[in-house]
Structure formats: structure tokens, C-alpha cells
Symmetry: C2
Subunit: 566 residues, 2 copies
């Protein structure tokens, strides 16, 4: 039995910011050195951020990445550091891990398995590697893997890494969040440790990047699958743990499958042994809430916005977004516009007031009736003889959108759109109206989860937070007299499970009906979802929290003659 | 020497419309039968349309595709027909070609080379096939390939198809348009014919699908690379040609590489021999213009719009879009709004009048000054003490956007956005303002090409078309007094080549400067392009006409710390 003090840099890089990312890595290296760690593992593509997308096609980006790696290596001492980078070699581009030590790049491993589904497009950019890498450090043999490599039951961890006789497998990862995914990973990694009879050090990224959030939840398990250390969710963290390793295998190495390199590790520190770090999981609501906060904060900060602005309607969606924004940026950096019309209820006035009072954010009130009347007058000749309809409703939403954008332009605030996933799915949101903004915080949050998140946030507040009435009054867009969401949509407790079955699971109509819903309701919902693709295509990005978000995760044509019903 | 009468169905399918696509294929089959063709070749994925994107992930879509193929096969007689379809087999999905004859699916070929770059995501959906297919029809041996299969110098056409001894190679294709691409294909296919010593029948799709246009330009060349028949660009067409074939090769067939199937062809018709069909190419302007017309017409018609609406400013961009819309839909289905402000020049009033008079389209005039004044009054308390800036300019553009959308909502018209590629690149367009619409017709057309297209269209008009003054007056957004585009942007003759180098060629700053531009100008343009990604992400789709369009063709992160200048 050999003991290794291993450290994981659960870090938050910014895509393309090489200078910033190198500095962050170096600060983790300094802390790990101080903790007397013998090995430091950073996430996949920690040098570039993930995903760099088509930046990878720019020669200047690839050159900068190479130069940054060499500059970083030059500053690394005896503590071996694994970092992820984009490698260009002989006209090919790889998703690679570099082992840095004593000022040099000691070895490079190229990811073998490239995911190209869901939000992933890795085959657009990368060539798959051809060989495993095992680092021989005497009694410790370390097999290197990157993210997807350990997701397949018969992946490289088994063949290449076992073949290399590793007693430790490290995995550099950039695994995006959806609700409950940390638990899937936990089960997977424990299983893989048992599969390959080796301990696993799993280093995941943390931070927001456009519509993705990386949730951290890094992990160290021993060869029997027992947890030795768990990273927190949604924050940067250096994990340091003392890990007992089985004897390395003495299988003969096949050089067709595996490269090998030799290094010396720093000595195991003789001082007291570190205790295992185990984290107790929070509720699903807490987890989703924290993902949304991190995604919002990183979008604002990484894009240079100090302040955010949103339209507060007095309803539950914008209230939740205000709460998330305050938790992400601080109350003094969040601003709200209340833009009432004749259809705005007294309850909405009162609830908007209560929200800003409780949250401590700035509110401006801009009644839209005069501008609305003015538009209607201007449009009267065009619309003579035609009934009032959705046009007048959209007009109000778009006046509000215009006022939000005017404040954004004048004051430099980031506009946060407030629509939820249920309405984005059904097209129950106004394009260029309530859909305006740089970031659509809750666009992947179903309405029933909106309620759960508000209940959760109120339950942990130590002062009055969001008004309880938001949870009891009937949702309404308040764009015509006595309007209720339920005039146009099924109740959310019916709608959301249908949407989950159709959007996230791709189930056919019959199967959804088989779950106990009325055929005409399912059929109407499907038509609404299909018909709103053009709107969603023009929506701002927002945090993915479900297994299948709209956007890069679900790529449907707008021009689409397919119907579930023949 | 054997002669074959071969037919190409250069057809325009609609993604997902199985019923419609089967009918169209059958109408081509009827015409080909009437022409006494012995073989009919349809494009890649002719049954589903291309690209079906994530529809392929729906089990109901895959089942419908299988059922439609069988229903189609049941109606096919002795004329062998090759159609493209999405094949599901043993949990795998393939981009396949089916050979149909006498009521049955005789053989299936699975595409070997899957493109996953540019606008293509085929590795997201498909598994690559493993074997070539050669159809043995006695003296004629037909090697089947699909699109990308013949683009690689050492692709399957050489190995699998030559190995199969083919004297004819057919290629089912869905190759999207960009300017001049037909010529690249022509050179490629002639070269490939020489490479493999066989005639090639190249059947390309035609029609618009969201931001792609398929341009047709199908092709039949003999084994020496001589053109025997050329399809027109941008229209559906049945090509029928008598093709002389060399003797089939007598190489021994390796069944590891190639499958074989046997069919009987209908007899070669004894009547007069058909003459080669050769098309003389038009100018680049004509080609681009026709691509834009087809893309606009198909977006409208396939999405069920009868009428289109646009904002006419009196400037050249909206004039060109009006002209394209008239050519796409007919003058009675095109409507325009002229929405002048105090900054609108007399020239713009006069030119807008001339445009609608010449084109014969409906015009409504809605002055925006009152609504604008009303907004400013409402915003005055928020903006007290702050200077006028871009905010007031954007406000005007967004009032116009709101008026366009109100008409669209009330009357069901498709709004056409009028921004060009140069301004989309630099962010010189107002989000939710002039960027509103369902389809952005010229979003991939650089401003200098806008001028060329107007000149071209005027030159072929048989009545006064667009006013000549559009070509001579200085471009202006007319959002403040005496504004000119050249106040904010370099002259378009300088800007457009810089944009082409940066956006289409991914050249680094130094290389662009090396082409003879001032460093500070190039540097400013690059910053503008990088900073406008968030706007482009919310733009409507529009026709790709350059080798690299914004959108699925160029996928950059919004949150992006990379700068060409360190």
C-alpha cells in the first residue's frame, strides 16, 4: 500500500483568456505546493476554457495556446501538474493534457473519446488520440484520461490504462451541469474505480460559459470505489487528499496501446495524514438555484458588466430572476423597471413594491399607457376594421422591451430576460418583448420548478424575501383584462410533464398520452412547441439546468414539415 | 462501349414533409419513365430533406422515414430509382441511399464519409457505413456514393468503387450553395471521373432550408471528364442524358470492401439519341441574386407565409430586399412600411416612393416622431443629466421594429430584415430594431455586393426598377442629423476585404495588415466583429452566400476573452 497526497484544482477559467487562466493555475499550484501535495490535477482545457468553439479554427488562437502552455511550464517546479490544452501537431488538433514538471512539458496525452452529441461538438474540432499514457512514478503508476474517456463502459480507462498497469487513474474533466448530474458522475466514477481496480482522481471545471455551467463536484475515490474527497458544487476549490493506492500491476506493457513516461514525485509529507473530505448533498432546489446564480454571475463578470437590469412585473418569474440577480451580483448592482399598464393588477403593484423593498434593489416605475395609446393611434389606419388580438398584447411587451434596452444602452446595464422554460417551449413569450436581454436566466427552468425555487429561497432567507402571494396567485401576463396563463395553456402541473416527455425525452405523441394525459392536450402542446422554434432561435442564452435545454442542446430546423400526427 | 439513358431528379424536398417529398419523387419517376430513362438518381436524403437536424433523434421521425420509403418502393416499377433516406438499423442511424425497383428495396448503401465541419454536423447523427455498393447490371456496373464520399482525394470513389469494377459512379448530393461553388464542384467531379476512370452522375438538391440554399447544378460527365449534361441553378429539373460508358472492369471483387447486387435495367430506348445539355454560366451577381430569391421564396412558402413585409428606409439595403422579395413572391404579396423621422432626408422620401412605384408594391407611411417624443418624455427622469447617444438612435430603430412586428402579428405577414453582412459583422445594426424579422434576406451579403446586386438587377429590368441614386448617395442610417455610415465605419471598399479576411479566412491581424490595410483600422474592425457576437446570436436566419456565413457556419462563444492583440 502506497500513499499519495494528491490535489485537484477545481478551477473557473474564462474561454480564451490565456493570461487570466495561467494566473489562476499558478495560484492553485502555489496552494497545492503549500499543502505539500505530490501531484496537481487541473480540469480539461483548463488553459483555454471550455468550450472554445470556433476559436479553435483560428491559427492565432492555437499559437497563443502553445505559447501559454510553454510560459506556464517554465514556472512549474518539482510538483507535477496536469493541465488541459488545445494541441496542434502536424496539421491535427487534439484535446490534450500536458504533464508539466521542473520547467518543462514532460508528456502529453490526447483524448481518445470525443463526444459529439447534446451540447458537444468535439468531432468538429479535434482528432482523437491513438494511445493511452501511463506515468511511471515508481510504486505509483498514473493512467491519464480526459472526461468522455471514462464515460464509456469499455473506454480507455479499461484497455489503455489497465494495460499500462496503473494504480491511479486521473480524469481531467469539463462536464456541464444539469440537475442531479453530480450524482450520475459519482455513481459512474465509483463503478469505474472498481472496473479498473485503481483509484480515480476526477477534476471537474467550475464556472459559467454562455449557456453552460460547470458545477465542480470533483471527486477522489479509492480502488474499492469509496469516496476519499468530494469537491463542493459551484465554487472554485483546491481539494487535497491522502490516497492509499494498491500495488501497481506488473502486466507487460503493449506499446501499441500505451505510451509511458517516468517522473519523480515529491516525497510524501511525513506530517499528519489528511482526513477524507465528504460533502453532504443539498436539495435539488438548492443545487439548481446555485447553478443559476453562478451562470448569471459569470456571464455578467466575464463579459464586463457590473450591473444588471430587469423588468419586474409583480409576477413570480421576474421576482425569481431579481432574487437570483441579487444573489449573483449583490443588491446594489441590480436595477428594476416596473412598467405598469391599465391591465396591471393592484396585487402586481403591491408585490413589485414588496420585492424591491425586501431585496433592496433600485426600482423605477414607467407607466406605458401613453406610449401604448400613441402606437395604437399610429397603427389605427392600418388596422381599421380588424379585431383586437395578440398584436396589442405583444405591442405592450415590446414597449417594455424597448424601455429596458434604452436603459441598457444609456447606462451599460446587462438586461436579464425573465421567461421560463414552459413559456419558451410553448411560444408564450413575446419576441423582442419580454424575450429581450443579454442573458435569459431561467429559460431552462420549467414553471413548476420556478415555484419550487422561490419556496426554497424564501425558506433560507433570514429576512422577508419574495412575497408569499407569488406562490398562490394565478399566473398572468396581464396584457388584457382578466387574463390568466390558464386561458391559453394547460395547468403547469399538466404542461410541464408533457414538455419534459416531448422536449427532453423525444417521446412520440402516443407514448406521452400513455402516461395519462389527454390526447388533445398533448397534441396541442406539441404543436405549440414545434411552432415556436423561430422564436427560440432568437432568444438570448441562459443556464442549462435540465438534461435537454433549448439551444445547442436541441437543434431543430425552423422550416420543418414533420408532424407527430400524420 | 455501352450507352445508358440516365436521369437526374434535381428536386426540392421539404425537411420532414414525407408525404410531399414522396409525391415529388413519384412525379420525377413518372417523367423519367416517360423519357425512357433506364436509371433515376435523386439527391441525398431526398425523402427527408436536408438537414433534418435533431428530428433524426426522434424515434417517430425514423419510423415515419422507414414507412415512407416502403410506401414509395411499393410504387416503383422496372425503372430503378436511387433515393436518399435516414436509415435506422440495429440501434445505428445511417445517411443511406436505397435502390428501389419493382416494388422493393433492392439494396442499401450507407455513406462512408461524414462531414462535420462548416455547416455540417453529420457525426452528431450518423454512423459511417463500412462498405461500398456496386450494382451489377450486366455490362454496366454502378458504384454508389453520397456527397462527401467523392470530395476526398482518396475517398471511397477510388477504393470501394474502383475495386467494384464500376464504369459508372453515381453521387447523391445535398451540397449547399456559396458563391462560385458550382464551379468548384464542376472541377472536382471532372477530376474524380478521370481518377476512377468512370462516368459520374452527380444529383444535387435544390431549394432553401433556413439559412442554406441548395443550388442544383447537377452534372453528368463521362469517364474522360467531359460534360454530358448540366443542371440549371436554383430550379427543379429532370435531367435526362444518353451516356457512353467504358467497359466495366474485371478486377476480382473484395467482399470486405464492397457489397454487390444484381438488377436488370430497362432496355436502352431505340429512338433518337439525346444531345448533351450544356448550360452557359451567368455572372456572379446573377447567381447570388437567384440564390437569395430562392432562399426567400422557400422560407416563406415552406413556412406557410403568403405575404412578406419590410421596412423601406429609402436606402439601398431595404431597396434590394424589396426587389428580391418581389422576385421571390410577386409584387402583390410584398408590403412595405416607410417610417420617417425628423432625420429622414428628402432623398429618402423620394427614393422610397420611386421604389414602391417601380416595383408595384403596397406602401404605408407611419411617421415615428410622436411615438419617439413620447418615449423620450417617459425616459427623461431616468436619463436626466446624460448626453444623447446611441440610445436615442436605437430607440428609433426599435420603434420601427415594433411597428413592423405589429403589422406582422395582425396581418400574418413574414417580416424580412434588411441588414447586410458588413453591418451584421460590425454590430452596426440595432438588436430588436432593424434586426427584427423572420428572415434576414441579405445578412450574408457584404455591402459592396449589395451595390453589385442592385446594378445587376437594374441592368436586366425591362422597366424602371431601383433608383440610380441609391448607388451614388452616401449610405446613412438617418438616426441623427447628417449621419453617414462612414462616420462610424471605414469605407465599405476597405471594410469588406478586411471582414472577408477575418470572418471567412480566420486570418490573424498581422496577416490582414500584410494585405495592405492600416493596423489601427484592422484592429478596430476585429474588435467590432468580436464585440457583436451577442447580437448576431439573436438574429433571424438568412441565406448563406459566402464560404463562411455567421450562424451555424461560424460558432464563436459570446463569453470570449480571446483577443487577436495580446
Amino acid at each position: 500500500m502506497e500513499t499519495l497526497r494528491v490535489a485537484v484544482a477545481q478551477m473557473n477559467p474564462t474561454v480564451g483568456s490565456f493570461g487570466r487562466n495561467v494566473s489562476r493555475i499558478l495560484s492553485f499550484v502555489a496552494k497545492a505546493t503549500e499543502s505539500k501535495a505530490q501531484l496537481l490535477v487541473c480540469p480539461e482545457l483548463s488553459l483555454t476554457g471550455y468550450p472554445p468553439e470556433d476559436l479553435i479554427l483560428k491559427p492565432s488562437f492555437l499559437n497563443r495556446c502553445r505559447d501559454s502552455l510553454l510560459a506556464l511550464a517554465a514556472q512549474i517546479g518539482p510538483l507535477p501538474v496536469l493541465v488541459g490544452f488545445v494541441e496542434q501537431a502536424e496539421e491535427m488538433v487534439y484535446d490534450s493534457a500536458a504533464l508539466l514538471q521542473n520547467g518543462a512539458v514532460v508528456a502529453v496525452y490526447r483524448k481518445l473519446q470525443l463526444p459529439n452529441y447534446g451540447v458537444f461538438d468535439e468531432k468538429r474540432y479535434f482528432t482523437a488520440g491513438r494511445k493511452g499514457l501511463v506515468v511511471d512514478a515508481g510504486a505509483i503508476r498514473i493512467g491519464i484520461t480526459i472526461c468522455e474517456d471514462i464515460w464509456l463502459p469499455d473506454g480507455p480507462h479499461l484497455k489503455e490504462v489497465r494495460q499500462g498497469g496503473a494504480n491511479l487513474v486521473v480524469n481531467l474533466s469539463a462536464s456541464p451541469y444539469h440537475r442531479g448530474k453530480w450524482r450520475e458522475r459519482l455513481d459512474l466514477i465509483r463503478l469505474r474505480a472498481c472496473d479498473c481496480g485503481a483509484a480515480i482522481v476526477y477534476a471537474n471545471m467550475v464556472g459559467g460559459q454562455d449557456d453552460l455551467v460547470f458545477d465542480g463536484h470533483s471527486l477522489v475515490v479509492d480502488a474499492s470505489g469509496s469516496i476519499r474527497a468530494q469537491g463542493q458544487g459551484f465554487i472554485e476549490q483546491l481539494l487535497v487528499v491522502d490516497l492509499d493506492l494498491r500495488a501497481a500491476s506488473t502486466l507487460a506493457l503493449s506499446t501499441d496501446l500505451v505510451e509511458e513516461c517516468r517522473i519523480e514525485l515529491p516525497e510524501y509529507p511525513p506530517s499528519t495524514r489528511l482526513a477524507p473530505l465528504v460533502v453532504s448533498p443539498g436539495s435539488e432546489e438548492e443545487e439548481v438555484y446555485r447553478a443559476l446564480v453562478l451562470g448569471t454571475r459569470d456571464y455578467a463578470e466575464k463579459n464586463g458588466f457590473t450591473d444588471a437590469l430587469l423588468g419586474l412585473s409583480g409576477g413570480i418569474d421576474s421576482a425569481l430572476v431579481a432574487s437570483l440577480a441579487v444573489d449573483a451580483l449583490g443588491e446594489e448592482r441590480v436595477h428594476a423597471l416596473f412598467m405598469p399598464s391599465a391591465y396591471t393588477s393592484q396585487e402586481s403593484w403591491a408585490d413589485a413594491d414588496a420585492i424591491v423593498a425586501n431585496l433592496g434593489i433600485e426600482l423605477k416605475t414607467l407607466p406605458i399607457d401613453d406610449v401604448f395609446a400613441n402606437y395604437r393611434e399610429l397603427l389605427a389606419p392600418s388596422f381599421r376594421g380588424l379585431e383586437e388580438d395578440i398584436t396589442e398584447e405583444n405591442l405592450q411587451a415590446r414597449i417594455r422591451g424597448n424601455l429596458l434596452m434604452a436603459h441598457s444602452n444609456k447606462l451599460g446595464y446587462l438586461v436579464l430576460a425573465t421567461g421560463n422554460k414552459s413559456e419558451m417551449a410553448c411560444g408564450y413569450a413575446t419576441l423582442y418583448g419580454d424575450m429581450v436581454g443579454g442573458f435569459a436566466v431561467i429559460k431552462d427552468v420549467p414553471k413548476t420548478m420556478v415555484f419550487r425555487l422561490v419556496r426554497y429561497r424564501n425558506s433560507v432567507a433570514n429576512r422577508p424575501w419574495l412575497p408569499e402571494r407569488l406562490l398562490t396567485k394565478a399566473p398572468s401576463a396581464e396584457l388584457r383584462p382578466n387574463q390568466k396563463d390558464s386561458d391559453s395553456l394547460p395547468p403547469y402541473e399538466v404542461l410541464d410533464p408533457i414538455l419534459e416527455a416531448y422536449v427532453e425525452e423525444d417521446l412520440p405523441l402516443d407514448d406521452i398520452v400513455g402516461r395519462g394525459f389527454k390526447r388533445e392536450v398533448v397534441s396541442r402542446v406539441i404543436r405549440l412547441v414545434d411552432g415556436a422554434e423561430y422564436k427560440r432561435r432568437q432568444a438570448p442564452p441562459g443556464v442549462k439546468i435540465t438534461p435537454r435545454a433549448f439551444g445547442r442542446d436541441r437543434r431543430l430546423p425552423i422550416t420543418n414539415g414533420f408532424s407527430e400526427e400524420e
